[in-house]
Amino acid sequence: MPREIAYNWLDRAAGQTALSAEEALFVLRLQANEDAAYDELVRTYNASIFHVAYRMLGDSAESSDLVQEIFLKVFRNIGGFKGEAALKTWIFRIAFSEILNRLRWWKRRRRFATVSLDDSPNGSGSGRSVAASSPTPEQALQSKEQEAAIQQALGRLSREHRSIIVLRDIEGFSYNEIADVLGVSIGTVKSRLARARGDLKKTLMRYLSVQHLR
C-alpha cells in the first residue's frame, strides 16, 4: 500500500531519510498517483535523463525511447521508494540500470553506436548554445567537430568509465551522488574517475590547450 510505505519513511527521524520535507511531500504525491506530480516529475527530469542517455548511447531516437521506459519504471517502483536516497539519485540509478541494459542488449546484437558529423543531436540547431552571442560559421563548425569528437571518444570508453565521465564532467554530479547512482564507494568513484579521465585525455589530446611551464 503506497500510503503506508510513504508514512513509514516519512515518520522516520529527520536524519534517517535523505529527503527534504518538500521532496518527501513530492514523493507522497507521486505515490498517490497525482497527475500534477507526474507532470512535474517529467518536466524536472526529462532533459537531464535524455542528456545522460544520449551521451551514453550516442543515439537521439534510442535515447528518447529509453527516457519513456525510465519514467515508466519510476512509476512502477515509486511505491517501494522509502527515502533512503535522494529522489534524483534514485531516479538516475533506475536510468543507469536501463541504459546499461540497453548497451548490453546492443552488444549482444553487435550494434555499435556511431556518430557522424551530420548526425548532430541538435538537428536544426535549436539546442542551447554555450556561447552567449551567435557563433561565426567557423566557430559553429569547430564546435560541431568537437562535439562529434567528444561523443566518439566517449563511445570508445568502457561503460564504467563512460558512466562516470558523463555523470561528473558533463552532468556535474557530486562524488556522493555518483556513488549513490552507481552503487559504489567514494574511493571507487575517485579512482575510476581518474582512470576514465586518463583514457579520455589520450583521445581528445588535440582539442586540449596545454600551457607549458616556461
Partner: protein, 229 residues
C-alpha cells in the same frame, strides 16, 4: 613537507580539479607541479579537458518526447483500474472512515434514546386504551372517548322502554363531549325507541377523545343490548 613523486602527483590530479583532496595534498601537489614540467602539462590537460566537456552543447530534446512520455505514463497509470480505485480509497475514503463510523454510531445512539422514550409513552397510552370500553382507535398517541358517568348509565338502563333486540348507534361526539349527531345502524325502529335514543344521547356527556393531549371530535359505536325496565 616531503617532496611528492610524479606517480603520487598524477594520482591526485583528478580529485584535485574537483577539490576533493585535503589542503595538505593540494599544497604538496601545487609545489610539485611548480617545478615538474610533465606533471604540470598533465594537470593542464586535465583542466582543459574538464572545461571542454563542460562546454559541450546540450543535445536538443526530440520534439514529441515530453508529450509521448506523458501519454505513456498516463496510459500506464490508468491501466490498472483496481489499483487506481485502491489508491483513491486509501487517500480519500480511508481517512474518512473513523469520523463517519463515529458519526453513524452517535446518530444511532441518539435515535435509540429517542425511540426508547417514545416507546414508553406509547406503552402507557396503550394501557389506557385497553382499559377503555369505547376504545375505537389503535393509534397510540390518541386517547379514545369514554364515559364513566354512573347517573347516565343508570338512566339509560332504567328507562321505561323495553328493547329486546340490540340497538347499534354510530355517534358523532364533539370535542366538548356532547353528541353532535347520530345514526342508528341496526335494531328495532319505532317512534318510541327513537325517542328513547334521542333522549338518552341528549343527556350524556362523554370525556372527549384527545389527540396529542388536545380534545378532538370522534365517532363511536354505542350498543344497547336487552334494555329492560
Amino acid at each position: 613537507m616531503s617532496t611528492m613523486e610524479c606517480a603520487t602527483s598524477k594520482k591526485l590530479m583528478s580529485p584535485f580539479i574537483d577539490s576533493m583532496v585535503t589542503a595538505d595534498e593540494a599544497e604538496r601537489l601545487q609545489e610539485h607541479i611548480s617545478f615538474c614540467e610533465p606533471c604540470h602539462r598533465h594537470l593542464q590537460s586535465f583542466i582543459s579537458m574538464r572545461s571542454l566537456l563542460a562546454r559541450i552543447e546540450t543535445p536538443a530534446l526530440p520534439e514529441d518526447m515530453v508529450l509521448e512520455t506523458r501519454v505513456r505514463l498516463s496510459q500506464e497509470r490508468n491501466k490498472n483500474v483496481l489499483a487506481r480505485l485502491e489508491n483513491r480509497f486509501n487517500y480519500i475514503l480511508k481517512p474518512m472512515v473513523v469520523p463517519v463510523l463515529l458519526g453513524v454510531s452517535l446518530t444511532m445512539l441518539l435515535f435509540g434514546v429517542l425511540l426508547g422514550s417514545l416507546n414508553s409513552t406509547v406503552l402507557a397510552q396503550d394501557r389506557v386504551a385497553e382499559q377503555s370500553v369505547f376504545a375505537l382507535s389503535d393509534l397510540p398517541l390518541y386517547k379514545p372517548v369514554h364515559t364513566t358517568d354512573p347517573n347516565w348509565i343508570r338512566f339509560a338502563s332504567s328507562d321505561k322502554q323495553d328493547v329486546d333486540k340490540p340497538v347499534n348507534i354510530e355517534t358523532h361526539i364533539g370535542n366538548e363531549g356532547r353528541v353532535i349527531d347520530y345514526e342508528v345502524l341496526s335494531g328495532p325502529q319505532s317512534p318510541e325507541v327513537n325517542g328513547w335514543i334521542h333522549e338518552v344521547l341528549s343527556l350524556v356527556k362523554f370525556t372527549p377523545a384527545t389527540a396529542f393531549g388536545k380534545p378532538v371530535e370522534s365517532r363511536i359505536i354505542l350498543s344497547f343490548i336487552a334494555v329492560r325496565n
